[in-house]
């Protein structure tokens, strides 16, 4: 079989599997978030936590819960890392330094999972499984909760209530993420992913010494992909054979990365009572994703870079068992969602391939975006699109039966400004410092791309990296930590305020003048608005890095 046929069949099987679970999983999640009954284990969680699951929260209260929970999580995760020497299975490792623990705690709580640490040489098993992996679940559940709250904002009429954060958080974790992660983890173990609680050292065949690194890897790997987290158990992330041993586990991981963001568009349609709306949103994501995959695959398979030309193929930083096709597919899946796991070195991708995955993140993590974050991200862009359309024809814009007025547009404008401001200002400050040149792993334009990629990844909560850059200085730990924290929480607060303002409104009746938002015309309009917004914002920065490199 040729590489091309194998690659195309891989993509076809992936799309077929996603299509197969789209309706049942999407509708299941809609039921999870609309059900009025609690499971026994959920009642126990509420009782032990002292929360009242029957209480409805308005926007402000819901947002306060998200922020309170996130801040507590950061503090607890910092304490776990710094005090890991006192925990069992610490592998005799010392406590994590303060700013690295801050960066890592923020990174996992915000669903970014940027790695300024090297797992195998920094963290004990307890810190990984009882610290980091717990946030893998909870940060993903927070993302879905916020998306669901926004959907309720569209669904509900003349009510300020958006649901109950603690209930949404608990249900997402227990009814969606935990059972799926458990099954996925077992499949990964079957494929060879490690799940043990000790390391061992042995002499190799040629007489060297090698450590057989153990750890609760499979349990963490499963939720790392499913929850769009992406923080590796090991430094090399999903390129490491113990995280991703075969082409089959690689395929499973790509499926896990995409399954929830894709199925959530069905959840959106079902909860809105307009399944075609869910499909329209998926269509926008699908168009952008397909273009991105085509370009990246072309660049990697065609070896379109000087180094790849000399070598004969773009295999620097890639694993033999995956090859170019499966690496390109993984790279597009992981950057289009907010996952950020990598099965190859993105730094060593061709200039066009690396530039495309960078643009994937700049689109605002909506192709198809992070778990939950993709839904609220694209709904915000949809509001922007109806606003632009409204300006064109001189009508008050509306979306899904809700009027979009100055108040909503204020939230939307602030939302769309937050991430670009963090990326561009952060990159600008970093580049203006002389010491940043020493932190770059590559000279010239590619070094600039490394810095731009770092801030784009952090502010968009992706977590992948052009890994050549050294980010262990206090400056980068703090700056990227703040970019992740603000890039996550500020948009969430704005989305919840937006949701609250929508829920307070009544429904506007559909008339002949209403712009249908579930038809191909609007899909095209939304794609256009997303591309124009991203292009206007980032083109100058891209021109200095990846575009300049690609033209060499």
């Amino acid at each position: 079989m040729s590489d091309t046929l194998g690659g195309l069949l891989t993509i076809a099987l992936l799309l077929a599997l996603l299509a197969a679970v789209y309706v049942p999983l999407g509708d299941y999640m809609a039921r999870v978030y609309t059900s009025t009954t609690h499971l026994r284990v959920e009642r126990a969680v509420y009782r032990l936590s002292g929360v009242n699951p029957a209480a409805e929260q308005g926007a402000r209260s819901y947002a306060t819960s998200v922020i309170g929970f996130s801040l507590v999580s950061v503090v607890v995760l910092m304490v776990i890392q710094q005090g890991q020497a006192a925990l069992p299975m610490d592998r005799d490792l010392p406590g994590v330094p303060f700013w690295m623990s801050f960066n890592t705690a923020v990174s996992f709580v915000t669903n970014t999972n940027w790695q300024s640490y090297a797992g195998e040489s920094t963290l004990g098993f307890t810190a990984q499984m009882a610290g980091l992996a717990v946030q893998n679940f909870l940060s993903a559940a927070v993302g879905i909760a916020v998306a669901v709250a926004l959907i309720r904002g569209f669904v509900r009429s003349r009510s300020g209530a958006l649901g109950n954060f603690w209930v949404d958080l608990t249900r997402g974790t227990i009814r969606v993420l935990l059972p799926m992660a458990f099954v996925a983890a077992l499949l990964l173990v079957a494929g060879g992913v490690v799940q043990s609680f000790s390391d061992s050292t042995m002499p190799t065949l040629a007489g060297h010494s090698q450590v057989l690194t153990g750890g609760p890897v499979a349990s963490q790997e499963a939720i790392k992909e499913l929850g769009n987290n992406g923080g590796g158990f090991f430094n090399a992330n999903s390129a490491h054979p113990f995280e991703n041993p075969t082409a089959i586990t690689n395929f499973l991981e790509i499926f896990l990365i995409l399954v929830l963001p894709v199925a959530l568009t069905r959840t959106l349609g079902t909860m809105l009572g307009s399944r075609r709306q869910g499909l329209a949103v998926l269509g926008v994501m699908g168009v952008l994703w397909s273009v991105s995959l085509a370009v990246t695959t072309w660049a990697e398979v065609g070896a379109h870079s000087p180094a790849a030309q000399v070598a004969g193929a773009a295999m620097e930083g890639k694993e033999t068992r995956f090859g170019e096709w499966a690496t390109a597919l993984f790279a597009v899946a992981t950057t289009g969602t907010s996952t950020g796991a990598v099965n190859a070195s993105h730094d060593s991708l061709t200039a066009t391939g690396g530039g495309t995955v960078l643009v994937n993140m700049m689109l605002g993590e909506i192709v198809p975006g992070g778990v939950g974050a993709g839904i609220y991200g694209i709904l915000v862009m949809a509001i922007l699109a109806v606003f632009v359309a409204g300006l064109m024809v001189g009508r008050t814009p509306e979306l899904l039966g809700k009027k979009i007025s100055a108040r909503q547009m204020t939230y939307v404008a602030l939302y769309t400004l937050t991430t670009p401001a963090l990326v561009l200002v952060g990159t600008g400050i970093a580049i203006s410092r002389g010491s940043t040149a020493d932190a770059m792993g590559n000279p010239g334009g590619h070094g600039f791309s490394e810095v731009l990629y770092a801030f784009t990844s952090a502010a968009n909560n992706n977590g992948s990296a052009f890994g050549g850059i050294t980010v262990t200085s206090d400056f980068f730990q703090i700056m990227l930590g703040l970019a992740m924290l603000i890039g996550r929480l500020l948009p969430i607060v704005l989305v919840l305020l937006l949701a609250g303002s929508l829920a307070e409104q009544g429904k506007v009746p559909v008339t002949a003048g209403t712009l249908p938002t579930h038809k191909p015309l609007f899909v095209g309009m939304l794609v256009g608005v997303i591309l124009i917004m991203t292009g206007l914002t980032y083109f100058p920065a891209l021109a200095l890095g990846p575009i300049a490199e690609a033209l060499v």
């Binding site: 891989t10 969680v45 936590s49 002292g50 819960s65 309170g68 929970f69 507590v72 607890v76 195998e120 040489s121 717990v134 679940f137 909870l138 974790t173 935990l178 458990f182 077992l186 494929g191 992913v193 490690v194 043990s196 609680f197 061992s200 190799t204 065949l205 090698q210 450590v211 057989l212 690194t213 609760p216 499979a218 499963a222 090399a236 054979p241 113990f242 041993p245 075969t246 082409a247 089959i248 870079s305 000087p306 180094a307 000399v310 070598a311 004969g312 620097e316 930083g317 033999t320 068992r321 990598v342 190859a344 070195s345 061709t350 200039a351 590559n442 052009f466 890994g467 490199e549 060499v552």
Partner: protein, 196 residues
Amino acid sequence: MFSSLLTDLVRQSLAGLRLLLVMTVLLGVGYPTAVWAAGQAFGDHADGSPVRLDGEVVGSRLLGQQFEGDEWFLPRPSANDYDTLASAPSNLGPLSTDLIASIRERKAVVAAREGVEESEVPADAVTASGSGLDPHISLAYAELQARRVAAANGLSVDAVERLIEENTQGRGLGFLGEPGVNVLELNLAVAAAGGD
């Protein structure tokens, strides 16, 4: 208003702390332990797929190892010399002059070692992998090394090529990923055959 917001934040944070502790027990201890227990059903997969020689573990079939010398099949270049405590790629960029110089140098070394033209050296022989622990080489790179390894071990080239074939892993399910030759398993087979 600000003080009421602050009071609310503190109250919610405390609820969040209690929920986090409950979830830590469930997700941070219960879940990985359950995966570990159920994972025992898959034999030594959960323990890193160890490979044994005369009963002693000499590595994992999933992890590449460092080999030097004509009697061995050599693995791909590694950015970390196959150190499992520092898995990493080179992270050198697509235009990197350092990378291009390394690739040219490796090409010359491999071509001289195997007695072939530089144009016959496959890409995986001159590029470092994503993990630095790639257990495989391409079929082309294995075949390139067959003559040298056969001579050094007193084996026929045919015998060594048969061993390559036996230790080649095809594409997953017939079409996923790329085929590759497992270097550690191949070298074990060569050592066993050479020892006869």
